[in-house]
């Protein structure tokens, strides 16, 4: 199956994105902000469809809008960001706007499906290169702030007293989540970002109680699920996104109910 260019591209793109999603997702789950990640993905849909309308590549439209929205949510403040109602409203509005943009650009129905549910088998070499650079930037930024971010997530009041600026790190982190979301959309689409960002990270947190262990296990699981999903798609001809979501959910379920989920 590696004889085909599109398969090689798919595996390469999935590897990059899985690593990013696994690492960013670990902190997203730890901070209990998964819903915010979901909302950012929906905002991305508006960005992608909007950019098609004005003739820019959807990837950059996605990145621009998810990062802006992430930073904005951080600036508004932690409390508001965790408010389900506010996020839910933004989320619905973003999808609605995206739909409106599509309405103006009717030729792109197939593209809409790809955006919503992903189409990893159609990723080209140029996109892989873009993902690689984006991924390096994302992981680099995350690495730079990860210690104060962890401190602020575990013990915000003490962190604040010790001089950690909570708003700043919250904003930076959501900006990073925005970048990661934009990358995930290339593989599994706007609606299924959870499969890569949340599933593997949550599974990792059930399987290990260590920060270092989680930060290794989460991207490894994401990678395994993404690659296995693509391989299964190749042999079954069912969509890769379906397989990735199935593996993500299956992994989490197995970790939750199996005795291994109790391992320290």
């Amino acid at each position: 199956m590696l004889d085909y260019d599109f398969m090689r591209n798919a595996f390469a793109a999935a590897a990059i994105v899985a690593a990013v999603a696994g690492l960013v997702g670990y902190f997203l789950v730890l901070r209990g902000q998964t819903f915010a990640g979901h909302a950012l993905a929906h905002v991305g849909f508006t960005g992608a469809t909007g950019s098609v309308l004005i003739g820019i590549s959807p990837l950059w439209g996605l990145v621009a809008l998810t990062v802006t929205a992430g930073l904005g949510m951080g600036a508004i403040g932690e409390r508001l960001v965790q408010r389900d109602v506010a996020i839910g409203i933004v989320l619905a509005l973003a999808l609605g706007l995206g739909l409106l943009f599509l309405h103006f650009y009717t030729a792109y129905a197939a593209q809409a499906t790809a955006l919503l549910f992903g189409n990893v088998l159609s990723v080209d070499a140029a996109t892989v290169r873009a993902l690689l650079w984006l991924g390096l930037v994302t992981v680099g930024l995350l690495a730079a702030i990860s210690r104060p971010l962890l401190f602020a997530s575990l013990q915000p009041e003490l962190a604040e007293a010790k001089g950690v600026r909570l708003r700043l790190y919250s904003g930076l982190f959501l900006g990073i989540v925005g970048l990661a979301v934009a990358e995930c959309v290339q593989i599994v689409g706007v609606l299924l970002v959870f499969a890569l960002m949340v599933g593997p990270a949550a599974t990792a947190q059930r399987l290990t109680t260590r920060v270092a262990g989680g930060l290794v296990l989460s991207p490894v699981l994401a990678l395994a699920e993404a690659w296995a999903g693509i391989a299964l798609a190749f042999y079954t001809d069912w969509p890769a996104s379906f397989w990735i979501t199935a593996l993500s959910a299956g992994g989490y379920l197995a970790a939750t109910i199996s005795p291994a989920g109790r391992v320290r």
């Binding site: 730890l30 990860s146 210690r147 104060p148 401190f151 575990l154 003490l158 109680t209 930060l215 320290r264």
Partner: protein, 278 residues
């Protein structure tokens, strides 16, 4: 040198004076019990010392310097206890997250960091429970880990906001003894807020009683008196001593107990309202 100095400090939150024009000084090495009813400003006072609540008027000094965030000489155990309660992260990593936590970089403590984690876990006697995930620890066990976090970085001043809340009498005694031992061992200054005076009696040097926007700092005998407390509560207060224990009463009710036991309702008989926490 004074560990803490308030010079005519007014603390204002949401347009209301929580503390008005208070001046006080805590010497280095003292253990101070911070008391007062709900909303008296115990938490606000600690946050002001940390530089998180700016003084509306006056000046707060910590070891001679103006109070400011990020002072490594100050350790803090916040009152909020829910943080991390349902994480499947082991206690050790929960404490390790604090080591150098304000500096950018990767979240892995080096060799020195791990030694620091061992040190603080040993100090609070939490080494054995630090291997368990937080989600599987009790509230009291988590409290020990929070205390360990507060001790990271060898602070010279420790602010403990209600470390006895949710603890049964035996553990309350343990935590108070722990604070006394920390002071004896490390020579640090400790502010220890609580709703009840009696568990603290043997361990504290002085009390800081807050209420009605005012503060009274002094020995137990100076502060826990009818006239002083009547001023702080804004109501007629009677202080009753029974076998070395002290009860703050208003019209037959034990004020300190009622401060956190609203569910009891009605007036209490003096002895019926108190249980022994030897």
């Amino acid at each position: 040198m004074n560990a803490i100095e308030f010079r005519q400090v007014t603390l204002r939150l949401g347009g209301r004076d929580v503390l008005g024009d208070a001046s006080l000084a805590v010497a280095a090495g003292e253990i101070i019990g911070v008391l007062g009813p709900n909303g008296a400003g115990k938490t606000t006072l600690m946050r002001a010392i940390l530089g998180l609540v700016p003084a509306a008027r006056g000046e707060i000094r910590v070891f001679g310097r103006p109070a400011a965030r990020g002072n490594p000489a100050v350790g803090y155990m916040p009152q909020t206890r829910s943080t991390g309660a349902n994480l499947r992260l082991r206690g050790r990593d929960f404490v390790a997250g604090v080591v150098n936590g304000h500096r950018p970089g990767l979240p892995f403590p080096g060799k020195a960091g791990r030694a620091e984690v061992d040190r603080v876990l040993d100090l609070v006697g939490a080494a054995a429970l630090a291997g368990r995930p937080l989600a599987e620890t009790s509230g009291g066990e988590r409290q020990r880990l929070l205390l360990a976090q507060a001790l990271v970085g060898r602070p010279r001043l420790l602010l403990l906001d209600e470390p006895l809340a949710n603890l049964d009498p035996r553990f309350q005694g343990d935590v108070v003894a722990l604070a006394a031992a920390l002071r004896a061992e490390l020579g640090i200054t400790i502010l220890f807020s609580a709703h009840e005076l009696n568990p603290l009696l043997g361990a504290i040097d002085r009390v800081l009683y807050l209420g009605n926007g005012q503060a009274a700092l002094g020995t137990v005998d100076e502060v826990i008196t009818g006239p002083v407390l009547s001023r702080l509560y804004g109501a007629e207060i009677e202080v009753v001593r029974v076998r070395g224990r002290i009860f703050v009463m208003s019209g037959g009710q034990d004020m300190e107990r009622d401060a956190h036991r609203h569910d009891h309702g009605g007036a209490h008989a003096l002895l019926g309202a108190s249980h022994d926490h030897a």
